[in-house]
């Protein structure tokens, strides 16, 4: 059943010139995950700042 989904990992030794395609393209996965996590933190950071501004307004 897995064979119908999973990509066959052929051609392991080609594409070693490019950094991102080396090591079974794990760096591609890493890049995706890092973008997601950074995006999440940027969103939280902005939300935090917005709420801090609201709290400062009401305290004054």
């Amino acid at each position: 059943m897995a064979k119908s989904f999973a990509q066959n990992v052929a051609n392991n030794n080609a594409d070693q010139n490019n950094f991102m395609t080396s090591e079974g393209k794990i760096f591609v996965v890493m890049a995706v995950v890092i973008v997601i996590v950074i995006g999440l933190f940027l969103y939280l950071f902005n939300l935090d700042r917005k709420i801090s501004k609201l709290e400062k307004n009401i305290k004054s």
Partner: protein
């Protein structure tokens, strides 16, 4: 600002570390069963640690509310329970994805899967209960009492019963290891990422909960001012 927010920056640093080193660290390549998916240890398992921590904080504030009925304690209790439930649901979903390829089906009726689902259903009822009460003080008081019950139910459903019976998860009767990880499937280097991952995800959950709480406090104060 740095003095108050150092733990948020720490959360970011730890999760960046988890999401980079977690993909690169050496894992034991044993038989073909787990393979790279054992790296889920840094993502699926911390969801549950985070949920547990948030629920602990939630019940502490529930007890504090019962001791002294300050509405702010109720807001903390509510929002930490809310975020804890979200992390629990994420844990269930990520667990089902992992289980589909590890155990053959997304839901095997495994004792820990069932226990976690039951625990989360009990917390969902907490929100339904709160929604059914219109008076604020009564809502907070009832909610706080039920919160303590829901928290107590975490222990038989997630911590105790899955260890007493045969389970697909590590830690069950006949399985190796503690309920978090099976030492036969992991390498010592993985612990270097496991603990920072747990702390990073917990701090993230706390940050999200505090944001929701501050927003709620702001909204309610605003209405009180009118």
């Amino acid at each position: 600002m740095l003095l108050k927010s150092w733990w948020k920056i720490l959360s970011f640093v730890l999760l960046m570390y988890t999401c980079t080193v977690g993909f690169l660290i050496k894992i034991p390549l044993l038989d073909g069963r787990m393979q790279q998916s054992v790296r889920n240890l840094f993502f699926h398992v911390p969801m549950w640690f985070c949920m547990q921590t948030l629920f602990i904080i939630s019940v502490i504030y529930a007890i504090r509310y019962l001791i002294k009925p300050n509405p702010i304690h109720d807001y903390y209790s509510l929002e930490f329970a809310r975020t804890g439930t979200v992390f629990g649901v994420l844990g269930l979903i990520t667990g089902a994805i992992w289980a589909n390829y590890q155990w053959g089906e997304p839901w095997s009726g495994d004792p820990k899967q069932n226990g976690a689902a039951i625990a989360l259903l009990i917390y969902l009822a907490y929100f339904v209960l709160r929604g059914s009460v219109t008076d604020e003080n009564k809502r907070a008081r009832l909610g706080a009492v039920y919160n303590i019950f829901a928290f107590a139910m975490l222990f038989p459903t997630i911590w105790i019963l899955p260890r007493l019976t045969e389970s697909l998860h590590p830690g069950g009767l006949g399985s190796e290891g503690n309920p978090g990880l099976n030492p036969n499937d992991t390498s010592p280097q993985m612990e270097m990422v496991f603990l920072p991952a747990i702390i990073g995800w917990i701090l993230l959950g706390v940050w999200i909960s505090t944001l929701f709480t501050r927003l709620r406090i702001y909204k309610e104060r605003l209405y009180d001012a009118i």
